[in-house]
């Protein structure tokens, strides 16, 4: 096969690209990105669980929580700052497998 990419991997690539756009000061994807931050915040604090988090972005939410649960517990979801986006962008760009989401 010339090229193959899993759905999960594509979701991560796209999310990273949208986050990058946001970091450049272009806010058209802000609502989309913020909704994922908020979902991860609720998941990290136990207000949501694996069975009721938004299904479309579940792999991203679980991945983010797994990689920095403390950050997402504390984040002010109504006032997400530039450095918060930057922090998550760095998380996503670490060279770790994003399909590894074993320990929910």
């Amino acid at each position: 096969m010339f090229y193959s990419h899993s759905v999960e991997a594509s979701k991560f690539d796209l999310f990273t690209s949208l986050l990058s756009t946001l970091l450049k000061g272009k806010y058209e994807y802000k609502n989309f990105v913020d909704a994922i931050f908020e979902e991860t915040h609720n998941y990290a604090n136990g207000r949501k669980n694996i069975y009721n988090i938004n299904k479309e972005n579940a792999p991203i939410v679980v991945f983010l929580n797994q990689n920095d649960s403390e950050f997402f517990k504390e984040i002010e979801v109504n006032q997400i700052k530039h450095q918060d986006y930057e922090h998550v962008y760095q998380l996503l760009n670490k060279s770790i497998s994003k399909e590894w989401i074993g320990a929910f």
Binding site: S17, T21, F32, G102, F104
Partner: protein
């Protein structure tokens, strides 16, 4: 990303669209979808790509991928090409699993590989749609459920039972069932709450999982994707069994040559068959089976259970299309078709005074025609009833 490659990609799209935009479709929903694609094409055409930065280019490239993906499936779903009868059966099954099934259009792509029944999730999930909406302000009314069908078997109603398995992949993706089950089971294995018989059951159905030593865990970064993928296959086999009983099993064993070793993405066929047979027999002792059934109930608020109903087979035995009165009977047509093919045809021949045994090729045509006509009659009757209400 190179902007000139984006230009090339759009030129490729323009060439394909010039041909596909004139396709005709039987149903209104596909016509509407094509109209919305046409609006998207105009937006892309009007944009000056030279003004885009690297992230914009990436996002436009996703939009062009989205467009091509649509063409790939719509091109093979025209009035003359789509296997309308089987798609209608799948559409009824879809109603069992979605709150808003009419938001989805089942489309098919015909592929050359004889074994290549598969589901492509990309136009069914909310992956591309938010970008299209954000970049161009366009909303698509319908999502597409894309199923690949081998070109040579497009009217084969025996092999088509595999499509119920593929529909299972869509339902799995839609509700993110496997993803959650895999996480739940992985946590149970790694924190050692899955023990004794339950653990033995997991190790039996996922034999690639090693007993951990030292600080290692059962499910790791190295085997999680495989674990999840195998759960998905078990889920889809069970999903299909709800509608077509055990019809898939013999065919699956044959085409996989009785595979008794797990592959990278699929469990051993022998295990798959054992799992769906356990489900059908009502023996739900297996921890893996129980987990799949219970988790599906929790996640979807719908139960995994037999969803076909039998009908009197007299008409088929007399070589007449079956008189189907409800959708759940449509699914049973496939099981009956297999029964006729495998065992019943000699008796049917005798009963219909066919003196010279028919060649298998003719029997194959008869079975397929009977199923197709039975479904077709049901569709016509239902449409007629709706029209005359």
């Amino acid at each position: 990303m190179d902007r000139r490659i984006l230009d090339l990609n759009f030129a490729q799209l323009s060439k394909s669209w010039a041909k596909s935009k004139f396709n005709n479709y039987a149903d209104q929903k596909k016509q509407e979808h094509i109209k919305q694609l046409s609006e998207l094409y105009e937006k892309l055409k009007q944009e000056d790509f030279s003004q885009l930065d690297i992230d914009d280019i990436t996002q436009r490239s996703y939009i062009i991928d989205f467009f091509f993906k649509n063409l790939e499936f719509l091109e093979n779903s025209t009035l003359n090409l789509i296997p309308f009868e089987i798609v209608e059966c799948l559409r009824y099954a879809l109603h069992d699993w979605l709150d808003a099934p009419d938001s989805y259009i089942i489309v098919t792509s015909l592929v050359n590989n004889l074994m290549s029944y598969s589901f492509d999730p990309m136009l069914a999930i909310d992956f591309y749609y938010p970008i299209v909406k954000t970049v161009y302000g366009l909303e698509f009314t319908h999502r597409l459920i894309q199923i690949n069908i081998p070109r040579f078997l497009v009217r084969d109603y025996l092999a088509s039972v595999a499509l119920y398995h593929e529909l299972g992949h869509f339902v799995d993706n839609f509700h993110e069932i496997t993803f959650r089950i895999a996480g739940h089971m992985a946590a149970g294995l790694n924190n050692q709450t899955v023990i004794n018989d339950d653990l033995a059951d997991v190790l039996k159905f996922f034999p690639f999982i090693q007993q951990p030593t030292g600080s290692y865990e059962y499910i790791t970064q190295n085997n999680f994707a495989r674990f999840k993928s195998h759960i998905a296959e078990y889920f889809c086999d069970i999903f299909a069994s709800q509608y077509i009983d055990n019809s898939l099993n013999d065919y699956l064993l044959y085409i996989t040559k009785n595979q008794d070793k797990p592959g990278p993405n699929h469990p051993a066929t022998t295990h798959r068959v054992e799992m769906s047979n356990s489900f059908l027999s009502g023996n739900h002792d297996s921890y893996v089976l129980k987990t799949i059934i219970n988790a599906t109930q929790i996640i979807t608020n719908r139960s995994i259970s037999t969803k076909y109903t039998k009908f009197k087979e007299d008409d088929l035995i007399n070589l007449l299309p079956a008189d189907i009165s409800e959708p759940s009977q449509l699914h049973y047509l496939f099981t009956t078709g297999w029964k006729i093919w495998k065992t019943d045809f000699p008796n049917i021949s005798t009963q219909n005074n066919i003196v010279t045994p028919l060649e298998d090729e003719k029997v194959y045509d008869v079975v397929n025609n009977l199923i197709e006509k039975s479904i077709g009659n049901y569709i016509v009757h239902t449409s007629w009833k709706k029209a005359t209400k």
